[in-house]
Subunit: 319 residues, 2 copies
Amino acid sequence: MESLGLDIGGANTKYATNTGKFGVIYHPLWKGDVFDVLVRISEEQPHEKVGVVMTGELADAFRSRSEGVLHIAKVCMEIFDDVLFLSVDGSLHCFGDLIKEPLKFAASNWVASAIFVGHHYQDCIFADMGSTTTDIIPIVGGVPVAGKTDLERLMNRELVYTGFLRTNVATIVSAVEINGKKIPLSKEYFATTGDVYSLLGLTGDIDYPWETADGRGKDIMSCAKRLARVVCSDLNEISLEDVVEIAHQIRDAQISEISEAMRVKADEWGVCKVVGAGVGEEILKDASAMAGLSFVSVSAKYGALSSVFPSYALSLMVD
Amino acid sequence: MESLGLDIGGANTKYATNTGKFGVIYHPLWKGDVFDVLVRISEEQPHEKVGVVMTGELADAFRSRSEGVLHIAKVCMEIFDDVLFLSVDGSLHCFGDLIKEPLKFAASNWVASAIFVGHHYQDCIFADMGSTTTDIIPIVGGVPVAGKTDLERLMNRELVYTGFLRTNVATIVSAVEINGKKIPLSKEYFATTGDVYSLLGLTGDIDYPWETADGRGKDIMSCAKRLARVVCSDLNEISLEDVVEIAHQIRDAQISEISEAMRVKADEWGVCKVVGAGVGEEILKDASAMAGLSFVSVSAKYGALSSVFPSYALSLMVD
């Protein structure tokens, strides 16, 4: 039977089938409804059973997370016939259950992947770095032991709200150093981590949908111009080498933050291995090394499915 | 003769006349052209001579700051007859001069105020906290001695790129403490300093134009909801008291950063007085106290003209 896993986020809707088809559709929920995107997926992708996880309920379009969960679930019910929703407890439920306790279905996308990884690695940290956030999920005896809400996970260091493409660089560092001189950053939305990793050549052949801060191109020079602007400059005022130096410093700061969270969780649970997935897997690898932890690459085994791992794991779960 | 000062920023266009009329029009340059706004001002406000300063050239709408300066200046020339542009050297120039060296007219709005203040206070720090940025301009012997570009001023601590309304709170603090527990923030655009200061009752009777992060209301509960979201929560998960506590911590961090910059400049130039203007004057007062510096309030003398001080100072200069 062909089954479909849907991971409905605030910026991207991701899908995968148990036969390994997958895709990512950039579709910010704060700009429009998810209905059309899901219709398109339902028409293009084979599916009998459908599983749904989400994080999109946090988007500004919804006044509360409950409202967001209920809305997203309702749209799924309108489009698909046989739908199950994964709760943060790790069990699959019908729409009737979801209505009773919608918050149990909020921020659920990491659960599918963590359960899947727990089948293969009894004791580890499952880490998934997406475009917007990074999950750091301890798995002990095959069971994910992370907090059940975003607030709990933020507090526990199991959700590091920093990502590979969408994160405003001014939220990562407050100053950079150029030629030995410290320069505080503009606290503006001028550049994102997508610019940093494109400029450093770390996005590889990823054709990941993301919106640049100024709506302009994703070519190297456009990325460099945006990064120059974080110190209120153009490329005639600081050099391309200076901008590359800025990019390195932002990358280092992001790796440090993730690495520190890994170290905290590894110490807490006595584990020494990270299993890493997501579009930012390479960053997780560096963060693991910094934390002195061994690293298992999900993409080495599953290829680009790593970048949509929650939806793939879910498609197998509802199969 | 009635003269008009225009301060064309990225988010707001401000104007004042030498007779004390003034206004602020929220008009983000990254969303549309400044033409209509200037036509409206030209029709509604008396003017013979017109002076222009700007910071809007940094907006995403322009590929470079030169392009921005030239575009904004050209629009001014189309609408007004007798226009002069203030350079960062402090002198007034015609359009023909501006074309030759456009970057001398970039980020020029603080120059008008600083020259004006220098006539009244020979040795001080002139500080102006607007919706987006804070200028910290040393004045020595009546003459402003700050750097001439945004990059220089960032480096020198004369431009602290943090403001009273528009600043993303996630660029100010990386974590907050609730009930003794540290919580790292979401690095998202969920709430701004406008939410912080509204919630703390510090925006007074200011009816200042600003756009909220989610496009919803500016009432206290809407501000509180946005601030709860910075730790991925609703108000049913953390209390209103917790959110007020978060707001205090963000305010304190912003005051500390500004205070530190004031202290650096005061030590460098041996001055001990701050002359404060702008919509965030109250914050500057607290920052001055923290830095051990005396404080002179521009609004105590000029009332609400304090919040459009560059355009008012400029209207007197071209008179």
